[in-house]
Structures are given as structure tokens and as C-alpha cells.
Symmetry: C2
Subunit: 382 residues, 2 copies
């Protein structure tokens, strides 16, 4: 067996481990059998991931003598719907997995959220394993137990906290990820620097090319991200406080995803987060919380990596300030009409502001929209 | 305010109270405001209950200054579907209730299970209040936090444990319940005697007419039932052991509901439970666990009350032993191919048997089915 990096997620009897390293997929059988020798497995995946990596996983499970069946969905955010959720639940139940068996979420964040939510509610809770295959899923969505689907009123409005029993992050499966999706996941990596780790952000500014290239720097970036998230989740599992910091850039980002109809040709989640993080830093500067240089430095790094950083870069635009505000106020982070935003006092100095004036946000967004569509080519290449 | 009977459900920080008594609906506003003075309420109910009792509830909430909106579904088990669940979630989110607000489940067990599950997953968990309006809901489904919907493979296969913040059981709303639905709820009342309280079963044999008639005996029966359930739930919230006793009669009952297509014209839940409890006692006698007199005494009491006690009484029959076995093995209570049943050594002496031979059950059911349709008129009157 390989010697992966191991990151513990410490949550009492719900504790588990994240293993990070190349070649883990081929060891999935042994590692899952160590956890649940008799379990039958129901794998949930999307057609992209199935086409590229299911054979490796299946062989590994076969070698370990673990019975498995697969439920496949279409790739993309649209699968986080009530309709697909119902179909996945029915199909999982039809595989006749029982309460001690395992659901395996094998794919990006969409699969993790969807399959994790199904595992949370089938028979009122089944165990599950996350095998994240996108960078975004490896550094963020597979860790911490948030699962869910989208409402037509907003993202992730329906779901459950349900911790996995194990996370296997095979860094070599990322080699088949498109550059665009890799960059989208990179936005969440950069987020950990921006939340509370200025040194990590500085490291990323110097080493991002190595992270993209693969090898030790990539593994290190993923491990640092997972450790950061695991720490926050261990201190605040159900987001009564600190965990909200993980939403840095996400209130704006989710609104952008909503107004672009979750159309991945126009915007994927990580791109929304990239633009959203720049907006959160710009808005903080506008409120006098941090210097003007802070948003410029954030935008410069994300742009260098190849991520969009301005609303104007979204093909087809992002609607009106009204549409964005409707999406924002329907997002989870609202309390008695005041908005909760993650704002910042500088790189790595984010904080929760739970009394943000909606009028100020609207004004800020209207200005950003007035900048108009970007002259530069939209960043939606391969 | 009236002085209702109060039954505490002791579950640490998830503890709550059940209040039982006539006229509580008119006090719902004051009682909910005491719990959550600023909350906005989203009521989920069915058209039957809305037509009969929503005005009383709404007036009470208005007097207490609580804002409220209502989401209405069709009455009947068919509403515990993925489709209705999705619609109710979307409608609840559209009322813009926020995380500190309250979902109110106002109806029978169908509404409690459906609205409770929606409350469990909207924004990953909202507070909710149960105002049960059927006898079954007052003595059983509103207590203990099991919520959920049905899969096409079986009942309650998708759901969550989510405790209410308050249960208000207004015993006078039961006056509008049909005799048939009242009797169906009575099956669950009798269940508490059969599980572990022979004295209560004896009391019911003597006093069932008073329970039906209303007044003090009815309230007492409801309070005893709630206390019994609250005790079991407090000792085993998530059904790792003892709580399974509450499924007495339910494995057979759920299978009968499944093969009759959840068609309430043929069989309602409590009727399935009544027949199921008789079958569980007969099967226990067959295995030599209890005397032949035990099932006879159970059947005699339930029949006297007007409940069906034999498969043959179900209009249209109950399919084949194969169909019933498929439904039974798809029910939750299966482990590695052996069946978990609640069996008994006598009245009030039930226990969990987790190694029941499917072949013995099939043989027993085939025999019961061979008895053929009943000559007596089916018990489906008003
Ligand atoms: N639960 C959480 O805590 C959390 C945190 C962050 C994001 N999310 C959610 O995650 C989702 C976004 O995740 P995502 O970006 O992974 O999206 P995704 O699952 O849609 O994956 C992106 C694309 O990459 C493909 N893909 C995945 N792995 C691949 C591989 N190894 N090779 C080739 N193609 C591959 C997928 O098929 C898909 O087309 C959003 O729905 C977001 O809300 C959840
Ligand atoms: N969650 C649990 O622990 C639990 C326990 C037992 C049963 N259940 C579930 O409960 C459901 C059965 O509950 P139910 O029997 O209350 O069914 P129900 O909710 O369908 O109610 C039965 C009928 O009575 C009507 N009704 C309700 N209150 C009325 C009133 N006051 N006056 C006139 N009509 C009224 C309803 O409209 C419906 O037509 C099943 O789905 C079962 O699985 C859940």
C-alpha cells in the first residue's frame, strides 16, 4: 500500500480520516474492507467519472471481495435537484443495501453532496465513504459532512449534516480533470489562505504552478486545505459560528450561480467563488475594513492562475442587481433581514459580519454591473 | 389557559413537552409565542384538517401576534411521496422562513412525517412544532422525532430523526375524526399495552368505550400512550435497541399497506397495524413462544372495537405470500437476510427477535392467505 498523508477529522464518535495521495483508488477495496469487511457497496457517480475511473475502483473492490453496484447520474450541478435525488434514493434502495452497508460517493462535489444527502436519509441514515475526484471535492466538499441539493430558490437549501466514515482523495485522478475544473477547485484552495492563513496564500502565490503541475506541491496544498477545513469543522460542526468563514466568497458566488441558471458553460461553482471572493474583498475595502491593495492582490493572483475575477467576465452577463439581491437574500445566511457576509481586514483576516446592510450591498453590486461586460475573452477554455 | 396533561420527552438539549387536553388549539398562539416570540410560522396541513380546524389555529396565532403562512397538501398516505415532499420544501422555502422560524405540522401522521422531514432538511434543519389532529398522531407519530416519506420499495425508507420543539395534542379536535380513523389510531393505543403493559391492555378491554366516547378516559389513554412512547424514545432515541419494540405489528402491517398500494379505501395504517399485531401474536404462538390464548385475546379485543384482525377482511385481498415477503424483506428491519420481528411471550411481554427465518414467515403467511377472503363484511364503514 502507498503511504498517503492522513488528516484526522476529530468529531467524537463521528471522527474519521482523510487519506491523500496518488494511487489510492487502486487501494480503495483494502481500505474500505478494513473499515467494514462485510459491507455491500452502492456507488454513486456521474458518467464522466464512471467512464474514466470506475473500472479501477471496481477492480479494487473485487480484489477485496466487496460486492458493489453502481448508480450513475448526469454530470453537472443540475443533478443536485429533487428529481435526481428521488431517483438516486430509489435506485440505492433497489440495490437492497442495508443499514450497515455503505454508500460510496465517487465524483466531484455534486456527487458528494447528492450521494451524501441520500445516505443521510435512506433508512434514516446509512454510512458512506467519500472518494472525491475533483480538486474542489478533495479540498472542500468531501470534508465536514455538509450534504444537500438545490432548491429553485437557491443552492444547498435542502440537506443534512452527515459525516462520512472515510475520505479517500486520490490525487492522481485529478490528472484527467479539465484545466478549467482544476482552476475552479483551486479557488477553494486559495480560500483557505484568505480565511486565516496569509502565509499559505503567500506560498500559493509563489508555488501555484507546481500545484497545477502535480506531485508533492499539489499534495501539500490539498493536505493544508483539508487540515484547515478539518480544524474549523471540529470546532464548529453544525455552523453555529466559525464554520461560516468557509463561506468566504460564497454568498456572492451562489448568487452568480443562481442568476446564470447553474449553467456550467457560463459559470462553475469554483469560478463563482473566485469572483465572489474578489467581490467580498472589494466590498470590505469599500467599507474601509481593509486597504485597497488587498482586493487587488487577491484578484491579481486568481487572474494569474486563470480564474475569472470580475462579473463582467461571465458569458451572457449576470442579470440585474435586483436579481442578484433576490438570490442573496434567499441564501441561507440571512437573519431578520440583515445579511451575514464574510468580510475581511486583510489577507488571512476574514471574519463573520452578521449585520450587513442590504442597501449597501445592492449599491455595490449595481456599480459592479455598470462596469458592463468585459472586453477580455471570457475564461471558459478547456 | 386550560391545564393540560404534560408529558416530558427527556432527550438532553433536544428535550420537549407534549401537552394533552381539550381546547389546546385555541391556545396554540400563546404557547408557541412562549417558545419563540419572534418566530414566523409556516403551517403544513392537509385539506381535510384545513377545512375543519385551520381557522381556529390561525385566529389563535393572530391573537398572539405570530405571522403565519400555510402550505396545503392532499390528505392521505400518497402525500408521503418524493413529489409532494419536493413541492412542500419548495413552498416552505418560498414563505421565506429562516433558520430560527418554525414549521408547524398540523394534521395526522402523514402531515407530521412529511412536514417533520421537510423541517429536518430545509436549511439543514429548522425547528418545528407538532399539532397532531388524529388519534394515531397524538399517541404515536408526533412523539419521538421519526420523520420521513415512502419509497416505491416500502414505507418510511427515506427520512430523518428530527425532534419537535413542542407537541400540542388537542383532544377535542378528535371529535371530527371519522370513526374508522379513530379506530385506526386506537390500534396504536392498544399496542402500548401489548408491548410492555398488560395492566393497560386490561384497562383498555374494560374501558375502550369510554376512550371512544371522549372525556377523561380518552385523555388518560392518550397520556399513558405518550408516556410509554416518551420513555422508550428517551432510552433509545435512534433505535439501536428497545425502540424497535414500537414496531410491534408493523412489519406485517407495512407489508399489507404496500401490497394494497397504500390505498386508504382498502386499508389505513392503523388497520394494517391491527391485523399485523394479531399476526405477530399468532406467529409467536406458532413458534411456541406464547399460548394460543394470547392471539385470541388480542384479536377479540381489536375486533370488539371494530378493527380488522384478519388479512381476509381487506377488500380486494392482499396479494400473494411472495408479494408480502418482498415487501417484508424490503422493510427496514432486515439484517444479513435474517428478519427482525417483534414477537411476544404473552400480553405485554414483547421482545425483539432479530434472527427470524424468512421461510417460516412465508409459510405462515401462505397459510393465512389460504384462509381466503372473509365472509364477514369488510370493516371500512365510516
Ligand atoms: N458540501 C460542501 O461542503 C461543499 C463545499 C464546496 C462545494 N460544494 C459543492 O460542490 C459542487 C461543485 O463541486 P465540483 O466542482 O467538484 O463539481 P462537479 O461534481 O460537477 O465536478 C465538476 C466536473 O468535473 C467532472 N469530474 C470530476 N472528477 C473528474 C475527474 N477526476 N476527471 C475528469 N472529470 C472529472 C465532473 O463530471 C463534472 O463534470 C457544488 O455543487 C458545490 O455547491 C459543497
Ligand atoms: N413518525 C412516527 O413515529 C410514526 C408512527 C406511527 C405512524 N406513522 C405514520 O403516520 C401515518 C398515519 O397517520 P394517520 O393515521 O394520522 O394518517 P393521516 O395523516 O392520513 O390522517 C388520517 C385521515 O384523517 C384525517 N384527519 C386528521 N385529523 C383529522 C381531524 N381532526 N378531523 C377529521 N379528519 C382528520 C386526515 O385528513 C386523513 O384523511 C402513516 O404514514 C404512518 O407511517 C408515523
Amino acid at each position: 500500500m502507498t503511504s498517503p498523508i492522513t488528516v484526522p477529522v476529530v468529531l467524537g464518535e463521528r471522527s474519521y480520516e482523510i487519506s491523500i495521495g496518488p494511487g489510492l483508488l487502486a487501494e480503495a477495496g483494502t481500505r474500505i474492507a478494513a473499515l467494514a469487511p462485510q459491507a455491500r457497496l452502492a456507488i454513486v457517480t456521474d458518467t464522466n467519472v464512471a467512464g474514466l475511473h470506475l473500472a479501477t475502483l471496481a477492480e479494487s473492490l473485487d480484489r477485496a471481495g466487496l460486492a458493489h453496484q453502481t448508480v450513475t447520474v448526469e454530470p453537472g450541478e443540475a443533478s443536485k435537484s429533487f428529481t435526481t435525488f428521488a431517483r438516486v434514493c430509489e435506485d440505492l434502495i433497489a440495490t437492497r443495501v442495508e443499514r450497515g452497508d455503505l454508500v460510496v460517493a465517487f465524483g466531484g462535489g455534486v456527487i458528494g453532496d447528492l450521494a451524501g444527502f441520500a445516505a443521510a436519509v435512506i433508512r434514516r441514515g446509512m454510512r458512506f465513504v467519500q472518494i472525491p475526484t475533483s480538486l474542489l471535492a478533495q479540498v472542500d466538499s468531501s470534508v465536514g459532512g455538509k450534504t444537500g441539493i438545490n432548491s429553485r430558490h437557491g443552492k444547498n437549501l435542502v440537506g443534512a449534516f452527515h459525516q462520512p466514515s472515510l475520505v479517500l482523495a486520490d490525487t492522481s485522478v485529478l490528472d484527467t480533470l479539465s484545466k478549467r475544473e482544476f482552476r475552479a477547485g483551486y479557488a477553494e484552495v486559495a480560500k483557505y489562505g484568505l480565511i486565516n492563513d496569509a502565509a499559505f496564500f503567500g506560498w500559493l502565490e509563489r508555488r501555484w504552478r507546481d500545484v497545477m503541475a502535480g506531485g508533492a506541491a499539489r499534495e501539500e496544498a490539498i493536505a493544508i486545505s483539508c487540515r484547515s477545513k478539518a480544524g474549523i469543522v471540529a470546532r464548529d460542526e453544525t455552523e453555529t459560528g466559525e464554520r461560516a468563514l468557509l463561506n468566504l466568497g460564497h454568498t456572492f458566488g451562489h448568487a452568480l450561480e443562481a442568476v446564470t441558471g447553474y449553467d456550467s458553460r457560463r459559470l462553475v461553482h469554483g469560478e463563482g467563488v473566485a469572483i465572489g471572493m474578489v467581490l467580498a474583498h472589494e466590498f470590505s475595502a469599500r467599507l474601509g475594513l481593509c486597504s485597497q491593495e488587498t482586493p487587488s492582490r487577491v484578484a491579481a493572483h486568481l487572474a494569474e492562475v486563470g480564474l475569472p475575477t470580475r462579473i463582467g467576465q461571465i458569458p451572457g452577463g449576470a442579470g440585474s442587481a435586483d436579481a442578484l439581491m433576490t438570490a442573496i437574500t434567499q441564501d441561507k445566511k440571512v437573519k431578520r433581514g440583515r445579511l451575514t457576509f464574510i468580510l475581511t481586514r486583510g489577507i488571512g483576516e476574514s471574519f463573520i459580519a452578521d449585520d450587513v446592510d442590504p442597501a449597501a450591498v445592492r449599491h455595490f453590486l449595481a456599480e459592479k454591473l455598470a462596469d458592463g461586460p468585459d472586453a477580455a475573452a471570457p475564461v471558459t477554455g478547456p
